[in-house]
Amino acid sequence: MSSSEKKQYTGAELVVQSLKDSGVKFVFGYPGGAVLDIYDAIYNQDDFEHILVRHEQAATHAADGYARSTGEVGTVLVTSGPGATNALTGIATAYMDSIPMVVISGQVPSSLIGYDAFQETDMIGCSRPIVKHSFLCKTTEQIPEMIAKAYHIAKTGRPGPVVIDIPKDLVNNTGLYDYEYPENIKMRSYNPTLKGNPRQIKKAIMAFTEAKRPVFYTGGGVIIANASDKLVEMAERINVPVTSTLMGLGAMSGTHKQFLGMLGMHGTLEANKAMANADCIVSFGARFDDRVTNNTSLFCPDATIIHIDIDPANISKTINADIPIVGSADDVLTQFLELMDRANLHHNAEAMDAWWETINGWRETKCLSYDSSGPQRKPQAAVDALYKATNGDAFVTSDVGQHQMFGALYYPYKRPRQWINSGGAGTMGFGVPAAMGVKLAYPDSDVICISGDGSVQMNIQELSTCLQYNIPIKIFILNNRSLGMVRQWQDMQYGGRHSHSYMDSMPDFVKLAEAYGHVGMYVRHDEDLNSKVAEAMAMKDRLVIVDIEIEEEEHVYPMQVKGGAVDDMWLAKGVKA
């Protein structure tokens, strides 16, 4: 081919080339009729690696884990019909937590759309409420621009999943096309605001520097915006206490002296007390979710609320903001730091000393202490052991339930993107495939999944994927032989009637691990937890499932009292703060 002759591409090759030029390194997927041509084009390339999962839901969670840990866009490829619908749970999970993801779904040929063809599902319609945007491809020529736009939309502004539905006839080998990847994406209808309004910035600084009892309340937006360093710099400069949502953990190190721990339903006493008593709350990239606020009518009545969010729709959605600022956490923190320097603004050091004295009083309650003396294992002790065995350095993914809360509370995360869990959607079955995505991105780091005996069975088939691609994650099952969080609510609100929260036909997880070609270990209550965990972590190149027997009766505390204020809390069974 002479240099003047441009290379020509089939439709499927356009897809593959566009993915490559979008910077894709991994595609998580599962083939099927409608995407066979795309798979055929993938066969001939080595620009990205395709990971064949065992269920499309896991493809989305793995891409999600990859995206959360790296900040890059996760990529999924599934076929039409059931392939696409299986991906929906993972798309919803990414949507709720603002995770950048592109999902390419095959579709039946254009001529068959609307005819109830084999494996036809209206994927654009099915996914509409759970995507940031979606594209139905109409012509082959559109493919590069559509894919470029999808990646642009997925990762800019408030990130989120984007679906591209491509009918089979557009990617088969009948035609050849020119290829050009659009370098600059401009869309007249899509221009996210990044910088805060300078007047609002000034108002906010005046409010929180003059406040006597300010609190920083930070969320996943700080991590997504890569604003952690600036957050810590800002917080240290004015000596303000910082609390974080489940999604924001790690933005400020869990061991930082100004960090109060997580807030909300299972937050620490000091975090929730600080919120309730604050005269100024500065929220960065958090959305005053119901798992934080408890009863909104009782929420922090004395506080001036400064709400910084890239999504204007989040502001004043549940709690009215006194000083709203639309912008990215990173830009706004930069603006804060610059203006404080320029105007030589300082905080009220004397008032802050008094505020810290009050907070340290709440800290003395030691709300996370637990009784480790009994004969049964405590789940808290298991997470402690994981923390010690990994020096607090591991990437930790979790599923959903009690173990998730223990993982959030007892493993102080030291860096952003270290704690990977499904916060908004609360998707059981997230942990194992998400860990796969993280481990592929960081093969030299320890990646552990804290799971439960319920959750782990929701995507257990991925053990097979882990064997095929040698993904040596470590899975720790906090096994209480029941659906612990459901059981806890049944104990607290349904008179202890454990309706369908048992699992009395538990598989042998060790044999299960072995059946999939991995290593399985039990930790029974009379065995040494720390040494077993260390042994598992030492097997660097093997996937290990550690089935840790824990107490059935244990509840997650602290816990907000239903319908109360943010700091109305249970500290233990029958013990209110």
């Binding site: 509409r128 409420p129 940031k132 209808s189 959605k317």
Partner: protein, 168 residues
Amino acid sequence: MKHILTILMENEPGALSRVVGLFSQRGYNIDSINVAKTDDPTLSRLTICTSGDLATLEQITKQCHKLVDVLTVKNITHQEHIERELVLIKVNAADPETKDSVKRIADIFRAQIVDVHKECYTVQLAGQPGRISALVKTLQDETTIIEMVRSGAVGLLRGKKALVPKAY
């Protein structure tokens, strides 16, 4: 409280379903909806009449604006605006007496009879929704309505103010 939202969006397949879906997904009311392309065929203009308190309206506006296909959203209710609706009403007009009275009512309302059949008339009126409701009621009192269709309101701001795509 009733509000008129006017939305400018990309004339793309599926764009309307995103707006409509958003309303049902978040539990907002749609009293009427009207959509068609504009002088620029790449743009569609939607008029949605909805109801809710101010906080709900603020959310509706923000959520609509968040849709990637949407360029601008404006609540025109509280500004000087023109609001119009079109109605077509097919009424029984079998006997000469009813024919006369339908004709008389149409004249009073400055409506037109746009289709004539030996047993029925079809009356057309464009105007403010209140005037249309009055016409419907008056015709109901006089004869029976066989069928009718209302377009839902469309609206524009008065004066020079306009919804136009921002330069980008």
